[in-house]
Symmetry: C2
Subunit: 600 residues, 2 copies
């Protein structure tokens, strides 16, 4: 009997998809999609993070990959409900391939697949020791030679990097590096994380005093140990730092603090890196097979060059070097830039009695923090979402299920609502001379973040200080030069300054590779981050995924990890599984590796 | 229309109970119970931990308490199912009084209340800042005078105990002290925890090397931050230590390490303690209103006195002082005692090549760890229970809902099953000369724990070493005396010894009060722990609750906190709320304060 409900139709479509996948019939698979359908795969079918757009790409991918991946099953998750609204029927999937198991999410429109997400969650035979698989701890029975947990940990820590080589070396011990290292430890992949700072969490502690997370707690959990129910909505930086330090210890990471990498080179024949590090000032040579740069998408400071920087007699700092406002009471400060850091730094300086001017050189996207939470995030990441059964793991999957190619379309209506909701606020900002935008296509904050990682401020109050003139604003003007005592704008305006802060953002992460490995390798890999959307600061061609992030690059054995806490949590899963698959020698034939289109 | 289902009958009974409570009609309330019914209350109606047994006690309690407590409502929790089996219908309750809200659990038999549990979970107007009430963290808007989270924490830490007085002083920073302090912090009760050790967690790190938790992970969570899904079933002591240290930091406790209390006295008129402590060697005088001894139910060593202890030339240690086996390879060791610590220490010494003899002076209850988990704990505390929706918070409530007066009856069948399951094992132990028991009434481990806190070993393998003679056993004999080089038993057997370990347990916690305050106060309070069951080492009269634990004592302002991780978690809730109620000046008229029946 035919089931004509949306649920029945989706079940039939999924059954067809399953049959075509198991039969390794790529043409049949592609035929189940809309002509403009999307298949986003996170390491389950492509050994890559890849979105195939349209039937032709899907057919090409499946033709190449299905014989290697050998799908075993794909089915609606019996534990989850199918939903149906506005002509779109959606459901959760469980899937299994020859080597792994995973989850998926499907959207059906007009009886065909509009979007399909497939993700790898575990490798068969290498499942994580969680829940029923958790370790026993106490080993019952007795063995005269056995060591305690503490002795074993100390032995491991003493040997790794010396007597034993790590399989993975992670450079950078912020949230990204430790989330990845925690997953790798659970997968029994020998890993060292190195970081230049004395203590885990110093990446946050060392930043400007007033810094708090701009994303709310529900969005920010690390893997394995979620923040407790009393955790602040927007955690202060030092509290985040303490949490990261705790996490590093409790998750038993091999974390080398006060350690810097000074050089790295790759031996193609051996498939191995030689990395020289200074650990507490002593040189150690490491030979990992895989090298992960987790130094942060906001890692490498972008300091602009202006005439007169050598003449200026006051202090000059990149925002990442700014120590906070305490030393600047009564001083004149010019902050160049108008994004998140610029606003936070200006507000804190004003609070501490400095005379602050912000120089806005181009327009900025502003969104009030509570509007962002209420309108954009609350469906997936909020106390209400948790009460509705949407854990952050589920939210991550739902979020990931929207291909980047259509994501902006999902976001535009939200920002239309925000424009209405906060119309008075935006009008006041413009009246104060502030130049606003909502992105080239009015899609707002998260698309700007994905495309260029800059160009916005999540307002926690600094805008009111601009509106009322407490923070002085110079807008729409460039910098001509610095004199001995002032920043001079290109219209001749002189801004007297004791301190100039360059809140001018960060370069592409492949700059780290240039410094550590070589310019040649950095160029071979190309720019990191960005989608190729052909919008401001995100030149094409379109790639459909973030360039070089969490996936294979043109340089074998070199990986980039980073992003906000949400991304560190979610994408570390796929990066860890890609590394584990190589660690145990699985066939990881990558589909769709992209050559570089931009060098930085 | 009458609803004759068990669900309908329970709903009607609960409705009757609600009407009688709200009407403050104690006689009517009592009449809804079986003649032999039980009402266990945890701070909601009695401002005590109290079990009223039978209609007369219930009527007396309600007559005194209902006018003060002013119940507002008690109803079946609409989010939970009613269950019905073997003539007993059970359900979850939500309740509200004039000052608080709480949960309950009811069992109905023959149309009457067989057991009722009522518990206080929060005080109105003083709800914990969790979930929707969590703090914002970043304070939006701007204020020139405001301080960062870190500055505020540092200020608080610097002032508390000097410029500001704590309302509560907790002595002892093990799992009990910190679980309580974490709850008090969430309730905004100024609290200091002091501990003699340099680091939180040293209480575990300093114990014998092979120590692991004997209870499985599902039973051991602390409040607010549960162990992650990869946590070992039986965590090794050093890993527990690191977790406690992390917890202390992340929960922002005011924890004074390397601090000892040297004396304490109570000023009745002022309702205030004067406590002298040495913090890092410097004297500080504290004036808390409430003093909590959380020094551990296994805190004060019980060292037996034998003739010749002054003559013996080898080493003598209480089990709490035993450093682990490393120094004793090839040595002869006599361990006096046959409970948990004795077994663990003997096994570790044997593993490290010592010649070990255990002296068992009286019978011991042995239960294999996996049998305990499978038969006794798995319904409430296991991966399966979690999968069934029984969180540890729910498990704690179900566990607490069985009054101690009938608990042994619930446990006897479980131990009957264990006796059958492990018959061969027990026979082998007896063949090796080991004296076994299952408690005076065959009710097994947990009742022994509640009654006397001793007399058992959860077998993790040491029994096999006794069975095969690897650990030598002397059983059923007393100690005559020690010679220069041996322990001499009362049948004349000489056990040559380089080391004697007294695994002879611990005294009552009021011994701590004697040392710190005075013998007079210790005697006024009387013995801690035990139910008054009139079984071995738990003399009557029957009290129905654990003596002096987590509830008011005969000494105003003096409280005892302790027990295993489960108890520390669950009962710290009620102790914290009792302290908070006093902190904000609520009427906390205590029902049923018990005078001491035993001094130690």
């Amino acid at each position: 009997m035919l089931d004509n409900t949306p649920q029945g139709a989706l079940a039939a479509l999924v059954a067809d998809l399953n049959r075509a996948l198991v039969a390794q019939d790529g043409a049949a698979v592609a035929g189940l999609f809309l002509e403009t359908g999307y298949w986003r795969d996170l390491a389950a079918f492509t050994w890559n993070l890849k979105t195939c757009e349209g039937r032709a790409q899907i057919a090409a991918m499946t033709k190449a990959q299905l014989p290697k991946i050998a799908p075993k099953s794909l089915a609606l998750d019996p534990g989850e409900a199918v939903s149906d609204a506005d002509g779109v029927t959606e459901g959760w999937l469980l899937l299994e391939t020859a080597s792994g198991r995973g989850q998926g999410y499907i959207r059906m429109k007009d009886g065909k697949i509009w979007t399909l997400l497939t993700t790898l969650h575990e490798l068969k035979g290498h499942e994580e020791p969680r829940k029923l698989r958790r370790p026993m701890g106490a080993e019952h029975g007795h063995d005269p030679m056995r060591k305690t947990w503490k002795e074993n940990r100390e032995d491991e820590a003493a040997r790794l990097g010396y007597a034993d080589q790590p399989y993975v070396l992670v450079i950078g011990g912020g949230q990204g590096g430790i989330a990845l290292a925690a997953r790798l430890r659970q997968l029994s992949v020998p890993t060292i994380v190195i970081d230049k700072n004395p203590r885990p969490g110093d990446q946050w502690r060392n930043r400007y005093k007033s810094l708090c997370l701009h994303d709310p707690v529900w969005y920010d959990h690390l893997p394995y140990i979620p923040f407790p129910e009393n955790w602040p909505v927007f955690a202060p930086k030092d509290k985040v730092g303490d949490w990261l330090e705790m996490y590093t210890k409790v998750m038993e990471l091999n974390y080398w603090s006060s350690t810097t990498a000074t050089s790295a080179s790759y031996n193609e024949a051996k498939g191995e890196w030689t990395v020289t590090v200074l650990r507490d000032g002593k040189q150690v040579i490491l030979h990992p097979k895989q090298l992960v740069l987790a130094t942060g998408m906001s890692g490498k400071a972008n300091v602009p060059v202006f005439k007169g920087q050598d003449v200026f007699k006051g202090e000059q700092q990149h925002s990442s070097q700014h120590p906070g406002p305490d030393g600047y009471r009564g001083k004149k400060v010019v902050v160049i830039g108008a994004n998140n850091s610029a606003h936070d730094i200006c507000a804190a300086l004003w609070e501490n009695g400095a005379d602050v001017t912000m120089v806005q050189r181009s327009s900025t996207h502003i969104v009030k923090s509570d509007s962002l939470m209420d309108v954009c995030l609350s469906g997936l990441y909020s106390e209400q979402a948790v009460a509705n059964g949407i854990t952050h793991d589920k939210a991550d999957m739902i979020f990931a299920s929207v291909p980047y190619g259509i994501m902006a379309g999902f976001h535009v209506p939200q920002y239309d609502e925000i424009k209405k909701r906060d119309a008075g606020f935006y009008a006041a900002l413009e009246k104060a001379g502030f130049q606003l935008d909502f992105g080239d296509d009015e899609s707002g904050l998260f698309m700007k973040y994905l495309r260029r990682g800059s160009g916005y401020y999540i307002d926690g109050g600094a805008c009111d200080l601009i509106i009322d003139g407490s923070i002085k604003l110079q807008s729409g003007k460039g910098i001509s030069h610095l004199s001995e005592s002032a920043v001079v704008l290109d219209d001749g305006t002189e801004l007297a300054a004791d301190l100039v802060v360059y809140a001018t953002g960060y370069g592409s992460m492949n700059g780290w590779a240039a410094d550590l490995i070589s310019q040649e390798v950095a160029d071979k890999v190309g720019k990191c981050w960005g989608l190729g959307s052909d919008t401001t600061k995100d030149p094409g061609p379109w790639e459909g995924e973030q360039r070089n992030m969490w996936k294979p690059t043109m340089q074998p054995g070199l990986w980039f990890h980073g992003g906000n806490l949400h991304q560190s949590r979610h994408y570390s899963r796929y990066l860890a599984l890609q590394l584990k698959a190589r660690h145990v020698g699985l066939d990881t034939s990558v589909w769709g590796l992209e050559p570089p289109h931009h060098l930085r």
